[in-house]
Amino acid sequence: MTIKNLVRKPGRTTVLTLLTAFLALAVFGGSVVVLSLRSGLNSLEARLGADIILVPSEAQSKVSFQNMFLQGTTGAFYMDASALDKALEVEGVEKAAPQTFLASLKADCCSIKIQVIGIDPEKDFTVQPWIARSLTRALGDMDVAVGCKVEAGIGEIIRIYEQRCKVVARLEATGTGLDTAVYCNMNTMNQLLKAAEEKGVSHKMASGDAVISAVYIKAKDGYDIDAVNSQLNSCVRKATAVRTRSMITGVSDSLAGVSRTVTILIIAVWLLAFIILLLAFVLIIRERAREFAVLRLLGASRGMLARTVLLESALCGLLGGVTGVGLSALLLFPFAQLIESALQLPYLMPDVINVVWLGLGTVLLSVIVAALSSVIAAYRLSRVDPGSALREGN
């Protein structure tokens, strides 16, 4: 009888289903976005790995580090490679690893620049563990590992400054700008720097000098990182030490803001939809009073009538929940990259199992809310006096 009631009143069923679908869409969509932002921040923290980054003094005026790590903005700045040895001499420095950056003129695949990052696989402790998950050996000369957003398959050749580089690994997603970069060893980087110089891209250092762009530093346990940071600033000339924590704090603050807004929106949508559902069911009482009076006269018990109303609303909730979650998934997953670009924050989708649980939870919540909002209607309809209800109709 419940299903027949729903089928015979398609208008009413559609409105109730759409309302719960809207609820489910807001909850599932909002939760996935918030979870993705949180995983993105965790991933950024894990990928940075270092406590301090030492860069040339002019670097901060040239490019925003936050943009480099979050949006993959290209940037290239250089300092003498001796900065690495000087950094290692500073007390409290446990590990230091150099990286060299180079922005490609234009990848032959598309019209945007890509960031090429040269690492020393033996010293590196930030990118190398990440590369090691996809490549068991060290990066060879003219081998490159590409971030997951660079659409190049393993074995494919990509050309950077007319140099042919072989893709040997595709790295796992981090949800940050690091996904758009290409990684190589220092020999490859030196060759690319030479090729760039031949193309007229100067790195402002005397030809033949070994150059690096940044030194990633891990402080020894027990040492005050701020003190190490200050010492690096005073000991290494023409370089600035930046605490990675300061970068993450900025991102974390933005993320907290977005999370708060999304949460408030979800609560507002739930409240609004709950009130609308409640009103809808109360209005339905008047419309269905005669129908229920006839059922009472035919011998239906009060409990049976209450159960019918509750079951009808729960079914609408189920249908709406599934529709809402499906619609939300259809928008969120294919357009994840677009959302990431719009938010300009680290954005890493949660894994499939979490998404499935979240979807199931949202559907369950929709069923419960739909059933709860019909409780008053169920109670009043089950107590309808058949005689007066039928007389009122006449």
């Binding site: 990848a107 598309c110 019209s111 957003k149 659409e151 190049a152 996904d179 259809l330």
Partner: protein, 128 residues
């Protein structure tokens, strides 16, 4: 309005979105230097498939007897539309590019919905 015509109307609206979208808000990447990347040709192909789908939708609205066949013929067109961006014609090599970020997912969704509509239309026409 007959039940069998509803999928044709939706199909027509989708094809209109594809035709207009492939030339505007769902267009492939615009290269600053005026050159064309592979995604440009994918966009052109999608425009063509969208036009063919539009004609099929109009036919499904106009003809009565052969409606089942018209809906059937729309299905391979939709499949072609799903496979064109990225599988049959390559796109730019960076996920952050407009063609991969917007055009590909939007077109796949639109053609998938169109495929469902064509399937529904075929079932409704066969039942008649």
């Amino acid at each position: 309005m007959r039940k069998q015509s509803i999928p044709a109307i939706i199909l027509f609206l989708i094809s209109l979105t594809i035709i207009i979208g492939s030339q505007s808000f769902l267009s492939p990447c615009v290269h600053e230097d005026g050159t064309f990347g592979p995604c440009h040709w994918a966009g052109q192909a999608l425009f063509g498939v969208g036009c063919a789908l539009g004609v099929t939708a109009v036919l499904a609205l106009c003809v009565n007897r052969a409606r089942f066949g018209v809906y059937l013929s729309a299905m391979p067109l939709c499949t072609l539309g799903i496979l064109t961006p990225g599988t049959l014609i390559g796109l730019c090599h960076m996920s952050t590019m407009q063609c991969r970020m917007v055009m590909q997912p939007a077109m796949i969704i639109l053609f998938s919905v169109a495929l469902l509509c064509a399937l529904t239309g075929a079932i409704l026409s066969a039942r008649k």
